[in-house]
Structures are given as C-alpha cells and as structure tokens.
C-alpha cells in the first residue's frame, strides 16, 4: 500500500506556489535571449514602481489636505479613484488574454476554505491590488499626520474597503473568467477597450460643445453614487473627522454589508468551481452542424496574376488579419486619429483657429505618422505564424515568395489606410498644393519600400511569437523594435531633409523629383534583396522555428 501524504496548511501551499513562480522566473534567465526578456520585465517593474510611488505622494497630499484644510468630504474622491483603478484595471487587462488559472490548484488536496483563501490571496497579488494597498497605506499615514484622532476610524474603514475591493475584484474576475473563456468574447472585449480608448479623445470636443447641457445631468446622477462603497468610505472618514459617530457607524456598516454580500456571492462562486463545475477552459463544443463544406468551384481568381505560392500567402495573410482582432482594430486607430486631429484643427470650435495649420504641413506630417505606425509590425512579420512557420520551410518554394506575399498584403493595407486618411484630410482641411502632394506620395513609396527589406531581415533575425488576438503579456522583440526605430529615424530624416530642400532652393518640384529617384532606387533594392533574404531565411530557419514553435 502506498503512503498517503498528511494534510498541510494553507500558508505552506501559498508558499509553494510563490516558490514555483520564483523558480520559473529564475529558470527563464538561463538563456541569453530570455535574460533580455527579464531585463525588460525589470525595467517595466521599475516604471510601475515609479508610477505607484508617485501616486502614493499624491494620495498622501490629497488626504492630508482634505483633513488639514477641514474638507474631509474630499476623501470620497480619493476612495473613488482607488476603487475605479482596482476594479477597472484587471477588468481590461483580463480582456487581452486568459489569466493565470488558480483553479488548477484544485488538483491538490485543498478544502473549500483553503481554496477560498488562496483565491483571495491571488487577488491581492495583482498589480492593481498592490498599487491600491500602497495608496491606501499612504492615505492612512496622511490621516495619522493630519489628525491622529481619526486614525482608528481610518484603519477600520481601510480594512473594510480593502476586503470589499479584493472580494469584488475576485468575484467579477471569476465571472469574467467564465465569459472570457471563449476566444471570440476576449477579442470582443479587446475591441471595446480600443474603442473606449479612442473615445477618450472625443471627451474634449464633446465637453467644449455640450458641457453646459451635461452639467445638470451629471449632478443628478452623482447623487446616486453616494451609496456606493467609495462614497460610504469617504463619508465615514468625514464623520469621524467631525466627531459625528452616527455617520461613521452608518458608513462602516454600509461597507461591512457590501463586503458581506460580495463575500457570500464569491463563496458561492468558488464553491461551484470547487465542486468541479466549469473546469473546462473553453466553451462547450458547439453542436455539430449537419451541412458539409460547400463545394465552391470558383471560376475566377482575383489573384491569378500572382504565382500560386504568393497568392496563397496573400490569402492567408488577409484571413489572419481579419481574424486577429488586435491587429484588425489597431487599423481603425490611424484613420480615427486623423479624424480627431483634423477635427481639432478645423470648424468653428477649433482651438487653433487663430493659428491654423496648413495642409502643406499637416498632410506630409500625417502621412509620416501613418508610415510610422503601420510599418512597425512588419519588423516581426512572422509573429502570429506559430507552429505554422514550418509549413513555409516544408513547402517547395523559395522564401522570396513568402516575403512577396506578406509584403503585398502590407502594402495593400497601407494603401487602404492612407486612402481613407487622405479622404478625411481632404474633407476637413483640403489637399496641399500639387508639388507637396506628389512629393509626399513619392516619399511614401521611398520610405515604405525602402524599409521593407530591412523589416524582412529583422523578421528573420529577431523573431518573437505573439499571441493571436491578445495584448496582455505580449512583448515585441526588443531588437526588432530597435531596428524599426532606427530605420524610421533614418528614412524620416532623409525624407524631411528632401522635403525642406524645396523651400531652401525655391524649387517647389525638387522634392518630388528627388523622391521619385529615391523611390525607384528603393524598389530596385527591394527586388534585389529578395534572393539574398531567401538565403538568410535558410540560414536562420532554426532560430525562426524555435522562436515561433515554443
């Protein structure tokens, strides 16, 4: 009969998981390339630390000012800020990818209480929780400095607020986990996030135009927020500062009630998971549809001018683009931002009406911005291939055909994006003079085609796998980013000098002529580089396959 291990404590299990994560980090540093990756993480950690610490000072100053200046009701605003960050940050972060599955712990002999406590402990290890705890601590310190008598009340309220937040965050997280188990939902969530970010840019124009109308509505809605946890916490502290026991009790009991209700709901949710429900990470398989694959016998081929291999790569790239919500929705950004820029610079509410920007300047500037944004992914163009990269090396083709297909697709996307942006600029601001217009278009050909060879080489030399339809946990290849930055700097610099040469010499068509020559040279260089890149691909195939098949 085999031995059976005795029961162990929750702390031992939490310590075991923490040890596991540390070993994973340490082992990941064994490879040179991973060390750079970890260095990036450390730099990210330092930046996050600066962010948290900076806001610690802000929360300290805010809380101190609220109590020292006799305006304790302002404390509610600080609690609202922390509440919003704590709850919303993980919500959006979760949209970008499947988060750590702490339910895998169910493999081990845990009782239900241990499972619940470990679940909460994971909640406290989130970035948003760590930051919020630091900010609450700095507020508590400020209260102690400003009005020591309020410290006991503040400590109690902070503990309740903390418990309530971590419970609510885990509750929403565990619910979202179920909803986001489907890839499509995750991608939809990400799309909403992108749209929300774009919408933020519209706040200023909307407030400028409709601010007066919106204020009464905001005040009316604001009253209902008084019964939300951050307002209750703020009221409790305000009451304690004014020695109003009733208000303190009311606020604290309110928080306690919230914490209690959330705890009961979370307990029920975790209990369901503990019983083994929803263990599948993906949605239940859809019912098998009875119909067979449509026997489509297409008579026309829109890509018949291309070789079968190039046409296959173009089709595959198009399908990947439309199915990769991250890439697809980022394509909305450039024309949307062009619209926002042009809205800022035109119309009767434009803030720059006194010093309008001429299309002569704005048009080349916007186009340079589009090239900058849209060429970035080309420097790691195999990022989404995954194990499929092997198909290219197993197939009887030269790698130039893969690059031709990929580059053709990229150029098509650039053409569409620039076309849309051009229409918007023409609508809002008008077109620039013919010399600037022609010079800009030829400059685009020079800058884009000129970069393609470099981008293709970078993709072979510094590949990094990226998750499809995800943003969280996605780190671009550091060297590819550096390459892109350097190349854009060089091409941008050359283009700027050539563009301004027209002004300096007084010959307005000179830049267009110079760019035309440069564009021809860039196109020639691109085709000449394809064979060399095929040889590089053969030499680098092992690096590429290893990086993308992980």
């Amino acid at each position: 009969m085999a031995d059976v291990a005795g029961s162990i404590g929750i702390l031992t299990q939490i310590r075991a998981v923490a040890g596991l994560r540390w070993r994973i980090l340490r082992n990941s540093m064994r490879k040179e390339s991973h060390r750079l990756h970890v260095l990036g993480m450390v730099l990210g950690g330092i930046l996050s630390g600066i962010f948290i610490l900076g806001l610690c000072f802000a929360f300290f100053a805010g809380a101190y000012a609220a109590l020292a200046d006799g305006r304790p009701v302002w404390m509610a605003l600080l609690f609202w800020a922390i509440f919003a960050f704590w709850q919303l940050f993980p919500l959006f972060a979760a949209g970008f990818g499947a988060s750590f599955e702490f339910r895998t712990m169910l493999r081990f002999p845990l009782n239900r209480t241990a499972f619940y406590i470990i679940g909460l402990a994971y909640g406290l290890a989130d970035f948003s929780a760590v930051a919020s705890v630091c900010w609450l601590a700095s507020m508590t310190l400020a209260v102690a400095v400003a009005k020591l008598a309020v410290l006991p009340a503040m400590s109690m309220v902070v503990v309740l607020f903390l418990l309530l937040n971590v419970t609510l965050e885990r509750l929403v997280g565990s619910w979202l986990e179920r909803v986001l188990s489907r890839r499509r939902t995750r991608e939809l969530f990400f799309a909403l996030f992108i749209l929300a970010m774009v919408s933020l840019n519209l706040i200023n124009p909307i407030v400028n135009r409709y601010g007066a109308l919106l204020r009464p509505l905001a005040e009316r809605i604001g009253r209902y927020f008084a019964w939300f946890p951050p307002s209750l916490a703020g009221r409790a502290i305000a009451a304690a500062a004014q020695a109003h026991l009733g208000g303190l009790v009311l606020g604290s009991v309110g928080l306690l009630l919230y914490a209690g209700v959330f705890s009961v709901l979370l307990w029920r949710r975790f209990a369901a998971q503990y019983r083994g429900e929803e263990m599948s990470e993906t949605a239940a398989p859809a019912a098998v549809t009875a119909h067979r694959v449509a026997r489509v016998e297409e008579t026309s081929d829109h890509l018949s001018a291309l070789s079968p291999q190039v046409a296959a790569v173009v089709r595959k790239e198009f399908r990947y683009l439309t199915r990769n919500s991250f890439s697809f929705f980022t394509l909305i950004m450039p024309p949307a931002l062009v619209l926002i820029f042009s809205a800022q610079f035109s119309g009767k509410h434009a803030p720059l009406n006194e010093h309008p920007i001429s299309p002569e300047m704005l048009f080349p500037g916007i186009m340079a911005y589009l090239v900058l944004i849209l060429m970035g992914p080309a420097y790691n163009c195999f990022a989404f291939e995954g194990r499929g990269i092997q198909t290219y090396f197993m197939a009887p083709l030269r790698f130039r055909e893969v690059f031709l297909g990929k580059n053709l697709m990229l150029l098509s996307v650039l053409a569409v994006e620039m076309g849309l942006s051009l229409i918007m600029l023409a609508w809002r601001l008008g077109l620039p003079s013919p010399p600037v217009f022609v010079a800009t278009l030829t400059a685009i050909v020079f800058a884009v085609v000129g970069q393609l060879s470099l981008a293709n080489w970078s993709s072979l030399s510094f590949p990094r796998k990226l998750g499809f339809g995800q943003m969280r946990g996605q780190r671009q290849s550091g060297m590819a980013v550096l390459m892109a930055f350097a190349a854009q700097l060089v091409f941008g610099g050359i283009s700027a000098v050539v563009l301004f040469s027209g002004r300096w010499t007084g010959n307005r068509w000179l830049p267009a002529e110079a760019f035309a020559l440069l564009a021809v040279a860039a196109v020639g260089g691109y085709f000449a580089s394809l064979d060399a890149l095929s040889r590089v691909a053969e030499q680098k195939k092992e690096v590429l396959i290893e990086a993308l098949c992980r």
Binding site: R319, G388, Q390
Partner: protein, 262 residues
Amino acid sequence: MSEIAIHTQKLSRRFGNLVAVDSIDLQVVAGQFFGFLGPNGAGKSTTIKMLTGLLSPTSGSMQLLGLDFAAHPVEAKRQIGVVPEGMGLLERLTGSEYLQFVGRMYGLDRATTQRRANELLDFMQLADRPKTLIADYSHGMQKKLALAAAVIHGPRILFLDEPFEGVDALAAGALKALLGRMTERGTTIFLTSHVLEIVERLCSHVAIIHKGRLVAQGSLEELRAGISGEAGSKSTLEEIFLSIVGQDGTERPRLEELSWLM
C-alpha cells in the same frame, strides 16, 4: 534494382556539445513502409527534421529519390509530405482554408486543390465543421488535418512523426488502410511512433536509433534473426527493441527504488 527513396551518408547534427544525431547511414527503398524507432531523446525527430528541410545537418549528406537535398531543396521538397512534430498547422485558418493554402504552396491549381481538399476533409471526417478554426479543433482532429495536408499533393515519400497519436480508433483504422494502399502504389512511408504494436503491424522494415547512433536496420525478419540468432524467430518488436536499446542495462527503470509506492 529497387529505387532508393531515402539515402543518408554520415548524417550528423550537433547542438553545441550535444551530438543529437551521430553519422547515421540510412537506406530506405521506394515503396517501403519504414519504421524509425528509438527511446525519448534518441534523435528521431531531429533526423526527420533534417530529412524534411526543417533543420540543417552539421555534416553528412542525404538524397531523396536520388536528389541531393542540399543542392536541390525545392525539387526534393516537392516529392515529400510531412506530418512534423507539433503538426505545423496555421491555427487561425479553417481546415478547408489550410488545405487549400498547402495545395497552392505545392503548386497545385485552384480547382485541383479545392477538389482534393474537399475529398480529404470528407475522408478524415472533418467536413462537418466548415467554419471551425483549426485552433478550436481537438488534438485528434488536428492530427487528421495535418495528415490530409501532408498528402494533398500526392507525395512520393511521406514522413510521419507520431501520426496516430490522439486519433480515434475508427479514423486510425481508415488511415492505416489508406497508408497501406499508398505503399502498394509505390509511396515510401517513413514513420516514427512509440507504439511498437502499430509499427510492427504496418512496417516491413525498421531502423532503431539510440543516443544519436543507428543501432539496427533491416526487415523485421532480419532483426528477429539478429536477436535470436536463428531464422524464423517469433520475437515481438517490443522484445527486439528492448533487447537492442536496453542491452547496456541503463535504460530499464529499477522498480525497487519505488518501494514506497508498492
């Protein structure tokens, strides 16, 4: 004289100090169903990767159907189909889209590619989920699709790395029948599998690789005779394998070390 489908001479591959494949000389006759066996980490997948162009040899040479792989990689690849380790699928395409992609990559015209893709999807019982992405396929379905992709262009040599892993018994039976028919028509099949019963049932010839070196090669009868020292021996492939690979005594796990479990 029979045509040689696969011929390697002193084929080697090093990863730093590790010699993964050490000077192997393989010879596979066209039309053979050839099993390539070895314990974990013996060098099987590395050998297949070299033979299919996914990995460059450190030294040595290889010819596929008389074509030197290093000199004529494109022509050599045109003759082969591969189910690689990890399957190498483009997971964000549907099964039909992937087969059409692969068909076109091998230079088939669109109509032929579509017809063959449809027939293969039907045969592999994958036709009833036309809009499902490969990422959402089960492991077994992915394996069947990888097999379909490997044969869509009618290869003369087929390399299969664990082709039946995760495939249900019904589909596996049909696949085995298909592979058998392909060898009858002259296709050479180079198969690796840890399931020795499958190899014994399907393969006429076997090679065993151990610690990067080829330690046995021949027909099953030849290997049996080599082990027992007499013709007509009834040894199973498992016995042959264990006797060759486990003869240095280091391979067999010692059960007495796990006495606390028994």
